[in-house]
């Protein structure tokens, strides 16, 4: 007969952490299996998102553009007093806000996708990694749209492309990983309690002002201290400097944040997997 032996699946109350080798193997195979689905979900989300809208893809540009306009206006009128960042201020602010927006997108992405897909999660068994991957693709896609904005302003100020622009892309990836790591760690709690989502929204606004997005690194004071220990600082500053100046003043911090982010992202992934069946039992009860 030669029928292929069927894949067996076991479900039991035992913790998945007790058999780490199986857990890791399943994580990898599910990640692999979720590619196609992640792509479909991504295409679905993007096309659905822009289909019922007149401005369409412009929505990816508008927030950083308006944000830049406000800060440039406030700064030019001397309403706020910002140190000279060593480059044209609009260029400085726009790269900063584009990077910041990408970081915030990455934080929000896992929780947003899981919440939107609650119904599907409760009723269909599919590789859960697909949601995270689809979110990641969306964040990257939106970033690439915003790159057009950066290209435009670079051309406007006739700023030459530095040799470290490639490193800047790596830096953006780290920025996304950092955001995704925070997002995925908060997702299990956020699915159960929507306080988490609200807190993220408020907290990221605070965080914006404590990160050198619209101002250069402060030299002294409490803010300087906070900014220094803010994990986003070295990444964002490095990317901007690689892009415009050609060298980073925060290389050490960048490396540390990169390793920590990747490590915690993997932990977050394990947590996400373990938590999912428990969350589904609660959200659909």
């Amino acid at each position: 007969m030669g029928q292929p032996t069927l894949k067996k699946t076991f479900y039991s109350p035992e913790s998945q952490l007790r058999q780490p080798s199986i857990l890791i193997r399943e994580m990898l195979s599910d990640l692999f299996a979720s590619r196609g689905l992640a792509w479909r979900l991504f295409v679905r989300n993007i096309s659905a998102q822009y289909r019922q809208s007149i401005l369409g893809y412009l929505w990816a540009f508008l927030p950083p553009l308006f944000s830049m306009a406000i800060w440039v206006l406030l700064n030019s009128q001397k309403i706020i007093n910002i140190d000279d960042p060593g480059m044209p201020y609009p260029l400085f602010v726009l790269t900063g806000t584009v990077l910041w927006q990408t970081f915030v997108d990455a934080i929000n992405s896992p929780l947003k996708l899981v919440t939107e897909s609650k119904e599907m999660l409760a009723k269909i068994n599919f590789p859960r990694e697909a949601l995270i991957l689809a979110g990641l693709l969306e964040v990257i896609f939106n970033f690439f749209i915003r790159i057009l904005l950066l290209v435009a302003i670079f051309v406007w100020y006739r700023t030459p492309v530095t040799g470290t622009a490639g490193l800047a892309f790596l830096g953006v990836l780290v920025l996304i990983v950092l955001g995704l790591m925070i997002g995925i760690l908060l997702t299990p709690l956020g699915v159960l309690y929507n306080d988490v989502g609200r807190t993220i929204a408020i907290f990221t606004q605070f965080w914006f002002f404590l990160t050198p997005v619209i101002y250069p690194m402060p030299k002294e004071g409490i803010v300087a201290l906070i900014v220094q220990y803010n994990p986003v600082t070295p990444v964002l500053v490095s990317v901007r400097e690689w892009l415009i100046l050609g060298s980073s003043s925060q290389l050490m911090g960048f490396c540390v944040v990169s390793f920590v982010s990747v490590g915690f992202l993997l932990l977050g992934w394990v947590l996400y997997r373990i938590a999912m069946p428990h969350l589904i039992a609660r959200i659909s009860a």
């Binding site: 076991f10 479900y11 109350p13 913790s15 599907m120 409760a122 009723k123 269909i124 069946p277 969350l279």
Partner: protein, 401 residues
């Protein structure tokens, strides 16, 4: 039929919590204790919890169709969701073999803004189909769902029936080893439902099917085995005839509060007493019926009707005094009628009775007792038709050849 075991459920239990706030908090506790690999504590109920599925065991082989029946909230869906790996059991173990197709939710993952075609791709990949597989099945899916003209319009313009059809078509295109079906066919028109059942029938030879349904006729027709759940516990596992009987008994023990019951009387009637000789008779026994009607004045002509409702609340039998030519005029005071309904050669189970007494013009209902009385026909359970015809068969000899 192959003897290959596809599903093995060993003493599986799952607890749920009644209040949402507590439930969420327990969710956090469960996640934490799994991360810390903390063993134990899963066997005990915390305050507010109950066993949604309690110590259930069974096996399913290829080619079998298992009917999972029970009242609402008996734990059927919880069990299916554990089989599908959506939620973890709190006790016991489940072993599943091969690809599992589930129709726990039809059309989940439909995005209303996208077209039917786009949604087929999204849905197909959610259910584990590759793009090439979906390409090759696209025509079949569209054909089966009968949505040719609409396949390129957004799903939000579809009727709910169309969405269900599309969902079913996509899900069964998966050709799974195990098929889990949760009451999904309660929707949709009769023609499409039949089509679905035919398709399940085709698949059944190669798969093991678990069917959750409240329609005992369907269960009797499709399932060769039945597991009856009551309050999370499996109270019966065996052939479908016995299972449906056990389910029927379950319904009579419990009070079905969803049935609307009332008794109305109108002038000149001021009192009525309806009495069944037996509330439980054996299959084939006679049902006798007595009714006392107290009238304040003479009514020259009335019509008395007795209607039997089956468990699906369909009126399935009627006795009508006018049609059998019985005289039912009322005199002042007490009128007693005895009605002999004859032998009950009908499907066993519970029937509800409604008694109506119409006035001489057969318009106003002087007495209307709706489903107030019930009768249980006991005996060998048959899951099939409502009535059995006890006619004779004669062999005809054709002398011309």
């Amino acid at each position: 039929m192959s003897d290959e075991v596809l599903i093995k459920v060993d003493n599986v239990s799952k607890k749920f919590c009644r209040t949402l706030k507590r439930s969420l908090w327990y969710g956090i506790q469960d996640v934490t204790s799994e991360i810390l690999c903390r063993q134990g504590g899963q066997d005990e109920l915390r305050p507010g919890e109950f066993w949604a599925t309690n110590d259930v065991s069974f096996e399913l082989r290829r080619g079998e169709c298992l009917g999972l029946i029970g009242r609402n909230g008996a734990g059927k869906t919880t069990l299916l969701r554990m089989l599908n790996g959506l939620i973890k059991p709190d006790k016991g173990q489940i072993e599943m073999c091969g690809r599992v197709g589930s129709l726990i939710a039809l059309g989940a993952g439909f995005n209303p803004v996208l077209t039917g075609r786009e949604n087929i791709y999204v849905n197909g990949s959610v259910l584990g189909l590759r793009k090439r597989e979906i390409d090759s099945k696209l025509e079949e899916i569209i054909d089966f769902a009968e949505i040719e003209e609409f396949v390129d319009s957004p799903v939000q313009t579809y009727s709910s029936g169309m969405q269900v059809r599309l969902g079913f078509a996509v899900a069964t295109a998966l050709e799974p080893d195990v098929l889990l079906l949760d009451e999904v066919l309660a929707v949709g028109d009769a023609a499409f439902r039949n089509k679905c059942y035919n398709r399940i029938g085709e698949r059944r030879k190669k798969t093991g099917v678990i069917l959750v349904s409240h329609n005992m006729d369907q269960v009797g027709q499709f399932c060769n085995r039945v597991v009856v759940l009551s309050r999370g516990k499996s109270i019966f596992d065996g052939d479908s005839v016995g299972g449906i009987g056990a389910y029927g008994n379950l319904s009579t023990c419990d009070d079905d509060s969803d049935v609307q019951v009332f008794e109305n009387i109108k002038f000149p009637i001021f009192n009525v007493k309806i009495k069944l000789a037996e509330s439980r008779v054996m299959y084939g026994e006679e049902v006798k019926f007595r009714i006392d009607i107290y009238s304040e004045q003479v009514v020259s002509k009335t019509t008395l009707k007795i209607v039997f409702y089956d468990q699906q609340h369909h009126p399935c039998m009627e006795w009508n005094s006018a049609k059998v030519g019985c005289e039912t005029s009322l005199k002042k005071g007490k009128n007693t009628f005895q009605i002999d309904l004859g032998p009950m050669i009908v499907k066993t189970g519970k029937y509800r009775l409604s008694v109506v007494l119409n006035d001489e013009f057969d318009i106003a209902m002087l007495v209307w007792s709706y489903k107030k009385h019930e009768i249980f026909i006991d005996g060998i359970t048959n899951s099939g038709p409502t009535m059995v015809l006890n006619s004779n068969l004669k062999r005809c000899t054709d002398k011309n050849t």
